[in-house]
């Protein structure tokens, strides 16, 4: 059990600065998800926690221990890899046991530990099989068992579900969340999938080009994005942005903002204009019917916008009006920072709890 602290951590590969200056504290016992577009430095961050990469500058603490010079095997960190990285020449049991043997755990105890974790992840019948003989989901469980058996202070998982099919992925997501609840150990989980991040994490670190865009619980990230990047990254379709100079009603410019934004699910499609501050005529370009909801692509004089409704389908080709309640409008300043509804100031990048 341990919190993880990054202090002015910088990572460069030759000329390229991957992570300029990272400061964060991952809470003890949390399920923290690091999410961001591909290449933004998520894996690098994880690998620095594990000690597989060494930071160029700065300090990393696991618990109270400064681990800058501690080798990967001694950090008491377990990792689950994207491609499982199971030892193909060892049986399932051998895979789980390898780390214990290296730690010189006595045989009887090893046996007990293996049986314990095998039971938890449901691998007991497969202990003597080679990993190649198992399905993707089972291999994933072996990787988990191998990580768990060491009783680490920290679990780190690098896109562990990306090789599974959609259904299995769904199932494994909830299994992982339950596992975390059961073990209570700190989990640091990397994914590029915002849905996965939102559904699993109790704390999300959103990265872009090695910088923390926002670090907050999922709902805060959704409701109170700190900046344009977060607003657009979280939610599908992404938040609509409209430049203020394209808006006829002058009311917005008062707040010295550059753009306003609203979530597609907050857009109202109607046949008549209302008295909302934001209201503009539109035509439907395209519609995606997903069952419970419909996503419209709208054409307006301010550009293309998305709307997501849970209503009866609207008839095509009609002149419609898209409008948004005042309390659903976000304001973006020139520097990209966001002023969320009800919160007449910039959202802080790191929120510890719901504001």
């Amino acid at each position: 059990m341990a919190e993880i602290r990054f202090e002015n951590v910088k990572k460069t590969y030759g000329e390229d600065t991957i992570i300029p200056d990272m400061n964060m504290t991952i809470k003890d016992g949390s399920f923290t998800v690091i999410v961001g577009p591909s290449g933004c430095g998520k894996s690098t961050t994880l690998r620095m926690i594990a000690g597989l990469e060494t930071q160029t500058e700065g300090n990393i603490y696991i618990g109270d221990r400064l681990v800058n010079d501690v080798s990967p095997g001694k950090r008491n960190v377990s990792m689950v890899f994207q491609n499982y990285a199971l030892y193909p020449t060892m049986s399932v049991k051998g895979n789980i046991e390898f780390g214990l043997k290296n730690r010189k755990v006595p045989k009887a105890e090893r046996q007990k530990l293996i049986e314990e974790v095998a039971e938890i992840v449901g691998l007991t019948p497969y202990l003597n099989k080679k990993p190649q003989k198992l399905s993707g989901g089972q291999r994933q469980r072996v990787a988990l068992a191998r990580a768990m058996v060491k009783k680490p202070d920290v679990f780190i998982l690098d896109e562990p579900l990306s090789n599974l099919d959609a259904k299995l992925r769904q199932q494994m997501r909830s299994e992982l969340v339950q596992l975390h609840a059961k073990l209570g150990t700190t989990f640091v989980y990397v994914t590029h999938d915002q849905v996965e991040a939102m559904s699993m994490g109790d704390e999300i670190v959103l990265l872009d080009q090695g910088e923390i865009m926002q670090m907050a619980p999922p709902l805060d990230l959704y409701n109170y994005p700190a900046n344009r990047f977060t607003a657009q990254f979280i939610g599908t379709p992404p938040m609509n942005l409209v430049s203020v100079d394209q808006l006829p009603s002058a009311g917005f410019s008062e707040k010295a903002v550059e753009q306003i934004g609203f979530r597609p699910e907050k857009a109202k499609l109607r046949h008549f204009p209302g008295n909302d501050q934001f209201s503009m005529p539109c035509t439907i370009l395209n519609r995606e019917t997903l069952g419970s909801e419909i996503i419209y692509q709208l054409d307006t004089f301010a550009g293309k916008l998305y709307a997501k409704t849970f209503n009866e389908p609207v008839v095509d080709d009609e002149q419609l009006v898209v409008s948004v309640n005042n309390e659903d409008i976000y304001y973006f300043k020139e520097n990209g920072r966001c002023i969320a509804p009800y919160l007449n100031r910039e959202t802080p990048i790191k929120v510890r709890s719901t504001v």
């Binding site: 690998r47 994207q82 491609n83 990285a85 780390g99 290296n102």
Partner: protein
């Protein structure tokens, strides 16, 4: 149409049988000759089936020189080479595959140069070297130059490079030492390659004639191929039946092994030849 197809098929099979004959007949002829009498070897046209099968030819061939000694020498030399190679090749290939170190390119280039130097080029200077060390005509002279094998290092390095990096990282997180990673994770994964390379080495050195010819002067360290070659000048002219009997002793075990493990051996050679 149908008949011509049939004829073509027949012709094809006939052709294949001829091909087999081209490669099998010499061995059959060796076998036939090895159980003939002297007079039966010097008749023309040759006889295919000897009057009596003279197995004693094998004993005569075997007794014509210290063949047990040669056999033991061959065994000592070949097995020592294999064991030593195992201990030099694996770490070197691993280091070249997995570490970037200051002189890695230079040392690897040196290995590749060695790969291209045939023994026929270096025997003179090495002979002089061994003679000054007093190692001529010893097993060591036959073993030491082949204690490492550049070709095998190159091949094994390729195999090691294909092992995904993640696997090594997993092992590091499992607190395995670098040596342990090599022997517990990498070597088991490269086992097919290693066996192939050892098979290749075995056949090469078991059959080698040139090096032992150059480096040995007495029966104390001569190996089988050199010993057998001495049958060409058994006193009193050429005794083909004895010569062939001697060679049968050398060839038959290898051929038997070959036809049992044909697939593996061919794969070993083709694999080492192509990649």
């Amino acid at each position: 149409m149908k008949t011509s197809r049939f004829a073509l098929k027949g012709l094809n099979v006939l052709g294949l049988l001829i091909v087999i004959a081209i490669f099998a007949t010499p061995f059959v002829w060796m076998a036939v000759t090895s159980v003939k009498s002297l007079s039966e070897t010097i008749t023309f046209p040759p006889v295919w089936i000897p009057e009596t099968i003279r197995f004693e030819n094998f004993a005569l061939a075997w007794d014509s020189g210290p063949f047990l000694r040669y056999f033991v020498n061959s065994l000592i030399v070949t097995l020592s080479i294999l064991v030593l190679q195992l201990f030099t090749i694996v770490p070197a290939a691993y280091a070249f595959a997995r570490y970037r170190f200051f002189a890695d390119r230079v040392l690897f280039a040196l290995t590749m140069i060695t790969l291209m130097i045939p023994t026929q080029l270096i025997f003179l200077p090495v002979y002089l070297q061994f003679s000054s060390w007093g190692l001529l005509d010893t097993h060591l002279a036959l073993i030491l130059p082949f204690a490492a094998n550049a070709f095998a290092i190159f091949m094994l390095r390729q195999t090691f490079k294909q092992v995904p990096e993640e696997l090594l990282e997993a092992a590091r997180l499992d607190q395995a030492s670098e040596w342990k990673i090599m022997y517990m994770v990498m070597v088991p994964m490269a086992k097919p390659t290693i066996i192939t390379l050892l098979l290749f080495s075995f056949i090469t050195h078991w059959n080698d004639y040139f090096w032992p010819l150059v480096m040995t002067t007495t029966d104390a360290s001569r190996t089988l191929p050199v010993g057998i070659s001495a049958l060409t000048n058994v006193e009193g002219g050429v005794a083909w039946h004895i010569m062939m009997a001697g060679n049968m002793i050398l060839v038959v075990p290898i051929l038997i092994i070959f036809f049992i493990a044909q697939r593996h051996i061919i794969r070993a050679f083709v694999y080492t030849g192509v990649k």
